[in-house]
């Protein structure tokens, strides 16, 4: 893979930035920037604690549940929009609106409706993730070759069979890429939701650390989240590449 070529410079620049951070941190220029080594020491310290485990559990639960709902709603809706002009006319403006809207501003509304609890976090995740899933599933279905649709009809597929055996699979590359992008947005959603609610999960920890000026803890937590989002993206991108072979062979 080309990665051999890319990873080395990337790695180098990371080391340079890390060194710079360490120097600035040690110089004590600002309390906001503790030495990087201290942050990593904190990661090792925080991660095994029960508080962290609980926050991770709550966050993970909200994240997975929110994504599950977003997929369960988003994929069928996208497929229907891709197949039906009427459904498309009805939903597309809203989907486009929400896709580009500053969703953070809507979280307080969700908070009012669902209260200061886990439901709000789950709904925030759904709010962030669902639109891109809808749009990509729609694009995937619209890209299906018409003869494949006719094939299903000619051989007697009922609408359910056409959905489950043709549309979903034919649109799978786009659906997966929508899910991946949705999950990246969902990470934002879960963090923003928790920060705004700030009494559960990582939000509570962030609140705790920042209010007590525990900057090492604060950064440690951020790093863990960054690493999580990055790994998630890589895993999903890898999955996507596995189905790419037939995206090319589709037409």
């Amino acid at each position: 893979m080309v990665i051999g070529k890319i990873r080395v410079p990337l790695f180098c620049s990371l080391i340079i930035w890390a060194a710079l951070w360490e120097v600035v941190g040690r110089s004590g220029a600002s309390f906001i920037i503790p030495p990087l080594s201290a942050v990593f020491a904190r990661i090792v310290e925080i991660v095994p604690t029960a508080t962290f485990a609980e926050a991770l559990w709550i966050t993970g639960k909200a994240f997975l549940l929110g994504n599950a709902i977003a997929i369960a709603v988003g994929v069928p809706l996208g497929v229907i929009m891709g197949r039906s002009i009427i459904a498309d006319r009805v939903f597309l403006p809203w989907v486009n609106l929400f896709l580009s809207a500053p969703l953070t501003a809507l979280v307080p509304v969700i908070m009012v409706i669902f209260g200061l609890g886990e439901t709000t976090i789950v709904m925030t995740v759904v709010l962030f993730a669902v639109w891109i899933i809808v749009l990509d599933a729609r694009a995937g279905v619209r890209g299906i070759s018409p003869s494949l649709v006719e094939m299903a009809q000619v051989f007697g597929a009922n609408p359910w069979q056409a959905f489950g055996k043709i549309y979903i699979y034919a649109a799978l590359p786009e659906i997966l890429s929508g899910i991946r992008l949705g999950m990246i947005r969902a990470v934002k959603g879960v963090v923003i939701g928790q920060l705004l609610v700030s009494i559960i999960g990582f939000g509570r920890l962030f609140e705790l650390y920042s209010s007590r000026f525990l900057m090492e803890h604060f950064w440690a937590l951020l790093f863990v989240l960054f690493a999580f989002a990055f790994t998630l993206n890589e895993v999903l991108a890898w999955l996507e590449r596995k189905v790419d072979y037939y995206a090319a062979a589709r037409h």
């Binding site: 070759s145 003869s147 009809q153 051989f155 007697g156 069979q161 034919a170 037939y246």
Partner: protein, 267 residues
């Protein structure tokens, strides 16, 4: 323009597909078919031939029940067509295989949709895969096959559902010339072996004359039946001899003369 030659059809085989006064106007105003009436005798291969864009695909899809006619009706086996049905199968020009499924599943797909048990449908599919000459490729995926092999998969899939009528829209147009000739021979064999009715669309006059029992010439859009030709060519000999047969050459010439006037008129 020219009156459809409502030719007296020999009475022997019954008409399994009856097209009666069918018209089709697409939304947007394109008038594809103009009062077409046509019978397709059972057990024969009838070819639709005509200038590009004259509505051959449209007629085939109306018979398949994929699109509604704007006027007239189609009866298959005496029943009025309102949608696709198990007595009709379709072979697609671009194969229409599922890229995520292997040959076996693709061929068995019609039976899968009908809820036939897996072992049963796979046994049927395997036998047809053998018949179209793809034995050993059951586990291969479409992107691993050549165009000719993919169309054999499409053909096997249409045969597997055991429909009485096979609709084929330019099935050989996406394969190379050698493969195409082999296909034509295989098709003749198939028509002789399976007692099925074939509705075949092609652009090639030679192909039409070579494989057909009857050739329906359609006029330029909006289409009407302009002529029906029944090539009387000795079959069963070696293919090269057929292609040199005077009757074959004459028929090709006759059809060419019939179609040429549409070309002369320009588009």
């Amino acid at each position: 323009m020219n009156a459809a030659t409502a030719e007296a059809i020999p009475a022997e085989p019954r008409a399994i597909v009856e097209v009666e006064d069918v018209s089709k106007v697409y939304p947007g105003g394109t008038e594809a078919l103009n009062h077409v009436s046509l019978d397709f005798p059972e057990g024969q291969l009838t070819t639709l031939l005509g200038p590009s864009g004259c509505g051959k695909t449209t007629l085939l899809k109306i018979i398949a029940g994929l699109i509604p006619a704007t006027g007239g009706e189609v009866r298959v086996d005496g029943k009025v067509v309102t949608g696709p049905g198990p007595e009709r199968a379709f072979v697609f020009q671009d194969f229409a295989l599922m890229p995520w499924a292997n040959v076996l599943r693709n061929v068995a797909f019609g039976l899968e949709l009908r809820g036939v048990a897996r072992s049963e449908r796979e046994a049927v599919a395997e036998s047809y895969i053998g018949q179209v000459g793809l034995k050993g490729f059951e586990k291969a995926y479409p992107h691993e096959l050549s165009g000719g092999m993919r169309q054999r998969v499409g053909l096997a899939r249409a045969l597997t559902v055991n429909a009485k009528v096979l609709l084929m829209d330019e099935p050989f147009s996406a394969v190379d010339e050698q493969t195409r000739r082999k296909f034509q021979e295989d098709l003749l064999e198939l028509v002789a072996r399976e007692r099925k009715t074939f509705l075949f669309v092609t652009h090639s006059i030679e192909e039409a004359v070579y494989v057909s029992d009857r050739i329906v010439l359609l006029s330029r859009r909006p289409s009407r039946v302009s002529q029906i030709v029944e090539p009387d060519i000795p079959r069963g000999d070696d293919p090269e001899a057929i292609r040199r047969d005077p009757a074959y050459i004459d028929t090709v010439e006759e059809i060419w003369q019939g179609l040429k006037k549409y070309l002369d008129e320009g588009v």
